[in-house]
Chain length 360, copies 2
């Protein structure tokens, strides 16, 4: 399935297709870029898929420079970006060259940041291999590295020229990582598409079993929902904020647990559970709307109950949210499945109350 | 004089006006940004103009955080950018905050890079205080820091929201720095506007004497020419390359002399002299077209003769030019005053020949 992302001169396509990895060379060739390609990956992903991707590029006449970055968030540092810039310079990369990110969200974030800043921006291709990266991080041009005190603080918007998704890579993911990616999929259904959400409810079991045709349909559907939002709000001015559903409290939970206790998807699942209750507390959502969200998350093996946490620490972390405007954090809430509303006046007491409910 | 730069959602105005520095607060207020402003400057510029700008911002209700960076190119390092990001985070800057660059081109380059990458881009205002920055670097959104082995290697396009030029600041510049800025002005005339060039020929003496009304007219005229190019080619796809006239060889001369022997403007003056002769050598330009360029540069106190240099080193530096595409560097040449042509097939022998002519 080919999903267009229409952004004027920055338009591109997302290709969701079993076996897509072996087609990267011919697809990049069709874009008319220069001959040099940097293949950025981490050692485990490289050992799984590096050969397939590099051979495809070389078959199409590209000179491939491999760049290894550390696994996970450790890749998203200034030191790693600096090493990548130097490697590109040493390998003679110019403005026509291309950076290809092969891996999960962290690889895509740092590779995209490097591509977006090397010579003020070179071509960038995303080949995401985790569900999380496939349905969310790889689409929309958000790139970033971390500051020691704030995740994703330093970054640029730099749209890829192409996103290549092989849904079968989801079958090789460790169970916990696979389930984590499903949190983003559920989020897309909750705030954007009631029919998609209902289908997820019906397909929960084959999805968890990683049935190939269900995987392909669910991932492609989620990519389409994300692409639709990005098309209407490329720079996260307003609408795109909808994609932060669950992430506002989710990010704060990640921060107070030092990114060690929960995966990103687990934190988002908890954030969705908390923000669903916030909507109920503010009189926006029914108890059944809250319950459907929790039931689906639970059915997909995702957490919806909090361990004991310091509410003050969570509130402090929230105040550092990048969405804060002059100190206030807007929340995206879901009055019904398939709808959303941005709420500016959530109080600290409201947040304390839902955190307490979830810790019971 | 108010010069619009029409770039759709990224449009802004350049204000060229004696006393403009004291109006930054009210003008920024009119843009509706958040309350926090970082004023990035170097110690000497801050001592000259920092108080005027900070007081104007504070009068309009902004909370100002001063950020000092080293003077000149020493500001354009990753370490300085990192220190700025940390300072913004510590001062509670969010997406609604603004970075103001007060100073020359280097201050604008690093402050713009920081503004373009902090939280994926915050508002940026240029208050250039050198002629070079006023007519060139501050307009068009090119930002960068240096890699130890390549100038301006790491950067982003990040348009300012406002450019405020007080032409009277040119009156306080050291003589050598003032003259260096005139090289960019001459360049604009050569490749873009024969009438403007002819007026520069007539006004050379009052310009060198820094007559206030001539300064204002010349600087505003040059800003308008640059803005016109940026409007038609924001991302330097093709047309904007015209602004690299003289800079291709100029940059190489700076690189081989380790950025220590010539100012940027002096190197560009030498680059213009060399590229003028390149056009003549390739049969594109008349001897008189070459001579007019040299005469005006000389009248403005700029160098047009080279000291002995290793031609091989210059050629090696040229091969690292960011404009190189798969190894070949395109040249912008001027067949007549007020016109330009992009020439792809300049040989190493042609370059050696003009370097030899200029060293005689």
């Amino acid at each position: 399935m080919v999903i267009p992302v229409r952004l004027g001169p920055r338009s591109y396509t997302i290709v969701v297709e079993p076996g897509a990895l072996a087609t990267v060379g011919e697809r990049l060739r069709a874009l008319g870029t220069g001959s040099r390609v940097a293949l950025v990956s981490d050692p485990s992903i490289r050992s799984l898929y590096g050969k397939t991707v590099a051979e495809s590029l070389e078959r199409s006449g590209f000179a491939v420079t491999g760049l290894d970055v550390p696994e996970g968030e450790a890749a998203k540092t200034l030191a790693v970006a600096e090493r990548c810039w130097s490697a590109l310079l040493a390998a003679g990369f110019d403005r026509t060259s291309t950076v290809v990110a092969l891996g999960g969200g962290a690889v895509g974030d740092v590779a995209g940041f490097v591509a977006g800043t090397y010579m003020r921006g070179v071509s960038f291709v995303q080949v995401p291999t985790t569900v999380l990266a496939q349905v969310d991080a790889s689409i929309g041009g958000k790139t970033a590295i971390n500051h020691p005190e704030a995740k994703n603080l330093i970054g640029v918007f730099h749209q890829p020229r192409l996103v290549l998704v092989d849904p079968l890579t989801a079958r090789t993911l460790p169970e916990r990582e696979f389930r984590s990616g499903l949190a983003e999929i559920v989020k897309h259904g909750i705030v954007l598409d009631a029919d998609y959400f209902a289908r997820l409810e019906r397909d929960a079991l084959p999805l968890l079993a990683r049935d190939p045709s269900v995987l392909e349909r669910v991932i492609a559907g989620s990519c389409r929902l994300k692409a639709d939002v990005v098309e209407r709000d490329e720079r996260e001015a307003e609408l795109r904020m909808v994609l932060n559903y669950g992430h506002t409290i989710g990010h704060a939970l990640e921060a107070v647990t030092h990114y060690a206790r929960f995966t990103h998807g687990e934190a988002d699942s908890l954030g969705i559970a908390a923000e669903a209750r916030l909507a109920r507390r503010l009189g926006l959502a029914s108890a059944e709307t809250v319950a459907r969200q929790e039931r689906l998350l639970q059915a997909l093996g995702l957490p919806v109950r909090l361990p004991p946490l310091e509410a003050d620490a969570v509130l402090a972390a929230l105040s550092h949210d990048k969405k804060a405007r002059d100190g206030r954090v807007p929340f995206v809430l879901a009055p019904e499945i398939g709808t959303f509303r941005i709420v500016e006046d959530v109080t600290a007491d409201d947040i304390r109350a839902v955190l307490a409910e979830l810790s019971d």
